[in-house]
């Protein structure tokens, strides 16, 4: 049994020269190298897909853009394959209109739902609600479209009638003529799309608000505040950035929604700012509707439109994700 005498110990007075860290070889085994390469290759697939989409769609859209002129494509509202005229301005506007209506309906609903699940619901109800929201997210968009088409047109047109009657001060809610049909409009389409984007806004907002430190919330209540006061003063400011991100995510989803729009709206190429009236369209529904019968150059034009949609949704989504990730890291 060796003894360690004080002489063999290093004490504080024994510092000679400064030590420098060793270079430690992380000798990675061959198995590890292969493993890392395989995983990296899988990760690269996603890069290829996104890059490929931009490149291939760009290339394929050239013929149509040449035929109709690049500027015309984005500044006119026309779709005439026989003459070779394509212009998606009206549809770009329509896409944003429908998505905006969807947001206007969805955001209060989704935020209310998020607050309800987090703050108001009894705990048994909470699990049921979370599952319901998840199920709503999983429902195919065509089911929403069918249900909206057959079940919601009548009541929502009743609501639209009220809007046009009482809120005609606001330009959107006017009608071009007194008995213009109020079905198959941007309003109704937007309302149905709203239900489709509620789940994603709700779950992201919920996650963000759940990260608020309980001590702050309890402090607000302890100062004599009501629950709404606590929410207004503590929870919402805390979650503001995350909720904004969630809303942007929903907006991005609404921009790209295809089938529900294709089924519900009465398709026209021009922009229709009178949202209560029949008639409207979005880029995605344009592609879905025109594709089955399209010939070469028209297909190229559709691809160009798709590229424009891709760019739009990309910008919105990346902005949204950046905001959400930032709040997640900060929390």
């Amino acid at each position: 049994m060796a003894t360690l005498t004080p002489e063999t110990l290093t004490t504080k007075n024994d510092l000679f020269e400064e030590q420098t860290p060793r270079v430690v070889s992380r000798s990675v085994t061959r198995g590890d190298k292969i493993f890392r390469s395989v995983c990296a290759a899988a990760a690269m697939v996603s890069l290829f897909i996104i890059g490929g989409t931009a490149i291939f769609l760009g290339v394929k859209s050239v013929p149509a853009l040449q035929e109709t002129g690049f500027k015309n494509f984005f500044t006119t509202s026309v779709w005439n394959p026989t003459v070779g005229e394509y212009g998606v301005l009206g549809l770009l506007i329509g896409t944003i209109v429908i998505a905006s209506v969807a947001l206007a309906v969805a955001v209060p609903l989704a935020l209310g739902l998020a607050l309800f699940i987090n703050e108001y619901a009894p705990s048994r109800l909470r699990r049921f609600l979370t599952s319901s929201v998840d199920l709503l997210a999983a429902m195919p968009s065509i089911i929403f479209g069918m249900w909206g088409l057959f079940a919601l047109q009548a009541p929502l047109s009743g609501v639209a009638a009220w809007f046009s009657l009482h809120l005609s001060a606001i330009p959107f809610f006017r009608l071009s003529e007194a008995d213009a049909p109020l079905i198959r409009s941007s309003f109704i389409t937007g309302a149905v799309v709203a239900l489709m984007i509620v789940p994603i806004i709700t779950s992201v907002s919920r996650d963000v608000m759940a990260q608020c430190p309980r001590s702050q919330c309890e402090a607000a209540l302890g100062l004599g505040g009501s629950r709404w006061g606590m929410i207004k003063q503590v929870l919402l400011p805390f979650g503001r950035a995350g909720i904004t991100g969630a809303v942007l995510l929903g907006f991005g989803r609404a921009l790209g929604e295809t089938i529900a729009v294709a089924l519900l709206i009465s398709f026209i190429v021009q922009a229709n700012p009178l949202i209560l009236e029949q008639g409207g369209g979005s880029i995605a529904s344009l592609i879905a509707i025109k594709f089955p019968e399209a010939q070469e150059v028209e297909i190229s034009a559709l691809i160009a439109a798709g590229l424009a949609l891709f760019a739009m949704t990309l910008v919105v989504n990346l902005g949204a994700r950046a905001i959400v990730r930032r709040t997640q890291m900060a929390a």
Partner: protein, 315 residues
Amino acid sequence: MTTMYPSSAGAVTAGADATGSVPATSQPTPPPFTWQGELHGEDSTEQVALARAAPSASTSARLDATDVTCWFGKRKVLERCTLSMEPGQVTALIGPSGCGKSTFLRALNRMHELVPSAAIAGQIALDGVDIYSEAMSPTEVRSRIGMVFQKPNPFPSMSIADNVLAGLALSGISHPDPDALVEQCLSRAGLWAEVADRLNEGGMSLSGGQQQRLCIARALAVCPDVLLMDEPCSALDPISTRVIERTIRELCEEITIVIVTHNMQQAQRVSDNCAFFLVESLREPGRIVEAGPTKQIFSNPSDPRTYDYVTGQFG
């Protein structure tokens, strides 16, 4: 308050034969030390010899740390620690929390470098061979220097038997007689009697103390030369703690053990040598203030700081 410590470093209980089957030693030996408490229902005569598993049998080895300094990024957490951990003995690393004991322990089996910003200087030699040299890969080092962690973590996706054999499976080694190895390792860890009839159940169905003994058995299955233990009993109840301390005393004859502990009484019960770590003030790195035989550290330390710590003035 004197406890008797085992006499000099024991010989390895060999006893394998060429076929790898397991003979038991025939004569029962009395327990090698005196407990301060009572053990009930423990079979203290159970000692099983070690079968030789590929690639090499476990023989206790000597670990020498020389001028070991550790950094996390720019922050130096350990300064010039020199310690010899004798073969066949239990060395305890004691000291208040935050002094770098766990960092030192993790440097001993190259777990320290898993943290991206970690850096190390100095030399750590296993039987004279520098474990940080180019010649040694981390996986090789870790299969010769095993580790048991503070929180018991048996693999949930494996049964008890598979957990014990996990070390072999994870190194891609196969054993000619896995069932015997399982029995052996569980016996050495003091768990065999309790789980012999449910080897195929999941590892998570055991209690905390049993899980930790399972982790010990798992670490033993790869036949390491040194076993590092990072506060293995701190998450356990007193009965499990006693069982594990007994296991440690039994194991140390064949394996060198280095244990980090906050519990001074445990250090006294279990270890042959002690090293006392201390941080002088907030931004200082940890250092070894004194090291020596446990008896001496606790009854007659040379450094006044050691005296203050072992008499409970701080810590």
